[in-house]
Symmetry: C2
Subunit: 132 residues, 2 copies
């Protein structure tokens, strides 16, 4: 992008989220206290609206194709501490406070990123991240 439109998008103060062709915008959620990256998920316009209106994270579940109020069943409610948008307004960063047991992953772990990718024999393998 270049020119006036890009400049407004990047330096202006109008919130103009750019959803992809499938109507979604990606959002990374981090623990507001520790800064740890918890998860990465998508929002459609409704999920974003509900998040802004309620202060509680809502996502769009691509696998279940439905609006998803995070923690609705698990208790791992994510309360918004701060929501940010990136330079070209096609990604969001949510700093959240997590309810329930403080975890974010449906596998029971604190974060969804519990495995490290390591190169091996021309391919790649996963190994567990310590302490997760």
């Amino acid at each position: 992008m270049a020119g006036r439109g890009a400049r407004d998008l990047e330096e202006g103060f109008a919130f103009a989220p750019r959803f992809s062709a499938d109507g979604l915008i990606v959002c990374v959620a981090v623990d507001a206290k520790s800064g740890e990256v918890l998860m990465l998920a998508h929002m459609n316009a409704e999920a974003l609206d509900k998040t802004l209106a309620t202060g509680v994270m809502h996502y769009w579940s691509r696998s279940r194709q439905k609006l998803w109020r995070k923690g609705g069943t698990s208790g791992q409610i994510q309360t918004v501490v701060e929501l940010r948008v990136d330079c070209d307004q096609d990604a969001l960063l949510a700093r959240v406070s997590v309810g329930g047991d403080g975890g974010a992953c449906h596998t029971g772990r604190r974060s969804c990123f519990y495995r490290r990718i390591e190169s091996a024999d021309g391919g790649a393998r996963l190994t567990p991240v310590e302490g997760m």
Copy 2:
């Protein structure tokens, strides 16, 4: 997802990245030292392969539709400290060490997430994040 396939994907040690229909996987890059979220971008299979092979972050630029070795022109090379995959293997987390001036955003800022979204009059406005 459920059953054996999901279990292998989530608990196994085979790296099986799940690219979306457009051949991309999303990746969040954080500063390995400070933990700060720097940017969010996409990789296609080639970008991921090159990242694993070289230890330097490569992305797929959706706007320019080309492979993008981050920092190639700016000097803001991102050296991989650790690469992780999430539970269902459709998102990556890169902990990186940044070259050049240490920044990641093409606007000159350290992070692409330099504006906060705030609710206002039934809509939303952006305000600058302090110190960025």
